[in-house]
């Protein structure tokens, strides 16, 4: 039967919006400290409130990736597996690691590169997609009450599914080639979380910029491939002469690449300074991105 409105339980008296002269005043007057706390909590509050929406859009995004293909998710596994095999054949001969420590086996360099590429590809997927992310969902943002800030979270979650496949494969290869795994791999979830925070922040920033101009898209397409070589993926930060060995940390991806390698490949704890710098970068990027997105939110629906 048709469920009529007479079965409704009651009216909500919550204030949905209150705007005066273009400024939202729904929160009333708050002190500076309360505003700051509210701002820090805001992305998490929003994510919790929209959890069902995140779930359904994420599922749609994951389905979409291999839509129309028969093998489907097999491709998600095939790509990194082929990459790993190719590196093993290509680099297997050069059994000396770039940081001049003797390689234990012919597979070492390929595992070394593979670890760096997982981190870099995680970043690259978001860097390529973020500038046009809001355009992809323009019809949602313009015509429904869609929480646009959650798109950065959803797209990063999707990218982390592929990064997760890569990580599992890397752990399996490490175990197969060396026969053991260091205890330090239990710290990987921390790495994933802080990398995700960084990428979500980056996506907020790039997607808000990208809503205003397509140039951001072209800029990222131009610089992301170059960043691959400005990031110690095929080499190690340690081989660089001073002062480059420190300056390379200005490329914020360096820390993420070094840490995942330390945890899995070298089986050691990353340096304190590198860890602190990397965590700082990811938290700073997260809230800066959110701030930037929020500043421009009112204009985004109008310019899309």
């Amino acid at each position: 039967m048709i469920e009529g409105p007479e079965q409704r339980t009651g009216h909500s008296d919550a204030l949905l919006l209150h705007v005066i002269d273009g400024e939202s005043v729904i929160d009333g007057k708050l002190g500076a400290w309360a505003i700051f706390i509210r701002f820090l909590r805001a992305p998490f509050v929003s994510a919790y409130r929209h959890r069902d929406l995140i779930r359904v859009i994420l599922k749609r995004e994951l389905d979409e990736r291999f839509k129309g293909s028969q093998a489907g998710w097999v491709w998600a596994l095939t790509a990194p597996l082929l990459a790993l095999m190719t590196y093993t054949f290509a680099f297997g001969g050069s059994a000396v690691l770039p940081n001049k420590t003797a390689a234990k086996s012919a597979y070492d360099y390929s595992l070394f590169v593979f670890g760096g590429l997982i981190a870099f590809n995680f970043f690259a997927e978001m860097a390529y997609r973020a500038p046009s992310l809001l355009q992809e969902y323009a019809h949602f943002i313009k015509q429904t009450l869609f929480p646009a800030e959650m798109l950065a979270v959803i797209s990063t979650l999707r990218a982390s599914a592929y990064a997760g496949i890569g990580l599992v494969l890397m752990l399996a290869a490490q175990l197969a080639f060396t026969g053991s795994l260091s205890w330090t791999v239990v710290l990987l979830p921390l790495w994933v979380i802080s990398f995700m925070a960084f990428l979500i922040g980056l996506t907020w920033f790039l997607s808000a910029l990208g809503a205003f101009t397509r140039d951001v898209s072209y800029l990222m397409m131009t610089i992301a491939p170059l960043l691959l070589f400005a990031t110690p993926v095929f080499f190690s930060q340690e081989v660089l002469p001073p002062p480059m060995d420190v300056l390379i940390y200005a490329n914020v991806l360096t820390g993420f690449v070094e840490i995942v390698r330390d945890l899995v490949f070298f089986g050691r704890l990353p340096g304190l300074a590198v860890t602190a710098w990397t965590f700082f970068i990811s938290l700073a990027m997260f809230w800066f991105g959110y701030w930037f997105f929020n500043q421009n939110r009112a204009n985004i629906a109008d310019v899309l």
Partner: protein, 259 residues
């Protein structure tokens, strides 16, 4: 208008301007040097709108294309912010602005119900519980499990309205949405809106004056971004029809120069 019911939408001196730039790159100059010089002209889509809507009201909104109707509705939904003036809205708003705007062509009707329901703010469990009722309202039978690209326009509208009818909104916003369905489905929707009106508030935009006459107890006529006349439907519709007959459909309406 019922005078003792609580106010759900309150707007005072509401105005919305969109910047019109001379060329495509001008907004960059505006962003960089905006504090020294203005590179755009404002296009006032809405000017000085005063509106008070009480629970249980059904407001018909009349006006020609580009007069600012949709902008007003978008402001009420919170999709876009007014430039000047004050507005507040109480309760849950369900916009049926562009029916099926969120529909994904490659997903089935069933999956789209889940997505659209979530976008409308329903909990997943609520959507699943209402699913059969939505399917029955839409009345598209086995097409529920077909991809959206195999739907006709009418079927899409049916599905979209069926979802909106299950959102349990306090304020329902219908924007020229019913014109696509066939007569039987339109009647079904109008009947449903009739029963919705017993408790909920309706903002109804339509070029079908008969529907406005049937559904609304108050009518607002927006012309060129301003409220030209409001009040009892028969009277407002009469002057609207009269004016449409008198005024030519000239091109100058859309130019920003005279604002």
């Amino acid at each position: 208008m019922s005078s003792d019911a609580p106010v759900v939408i309150h707007a005072r001196h509401l105005a919305k301007a969109y910047p019109l730039y001379k060329d495509q790159g001008a907004w960059v100059k505006q962003a960089l040097f905006g504090r020294f010089k203005t590179y755009s002209r404002p296009f006032w889509a809405l000017r000085d709108i005063d509106l008070e809507v009480r629970r249980g009201d059904s407001i018909g909104i009349l006006g020609r294309n580009g007069c600012g109707k949709s902008t007003l509705l978008q402001i009420v939904c919170g999709m876009t912010r007014p430039t000047k003036g004050e507005i507040w809205v109480r309760g849950r708003v369900a916009p049926v602005l562009a029916l099926g705007a969120t529909f994904d062509q490659d997903s089935t009707g069933r999956q789209n119900v889940l997505i659209a329901g979530a976008v409308m703010g329903l909990k997943r469990a609520e959507i699943i519980a209402k699913f059969d009722s939505i399917a029955e309202f839409a009345g598209i039978g086995a097409f529920m499990d077909q991809q959206l690209k195999h739907y006709s326009t009418g079927m899409r509208t049916r599905l979209a309205f069926a979802i909106c009818a299950h959102v349990e909104a306090d304020v329902l916003i219908v924007d020229e949405a019913l014109s696509v369905g066939d007569a039987a489905f339109q009647r079904k929707c109008l009947d449903w809106i009739d029963s919705f009106k017993k408790q909920g508030t309706l903002l109804f935009v339509s070029h079908s004056l008969d529907q406005v006459r049937r559904l609304c107890n108050h009518t607002v006529w927006i012309d060129n971004g301003r409220i030209r006349e409001q009040g009892e439907p028969h009277r407002v519709i009469q002057s609207y029809v009269q004016a449409t007959r008198d005024e030519r459909d000239d091109v100058g309406r859309f130019s920003a120069a005279d604002h």
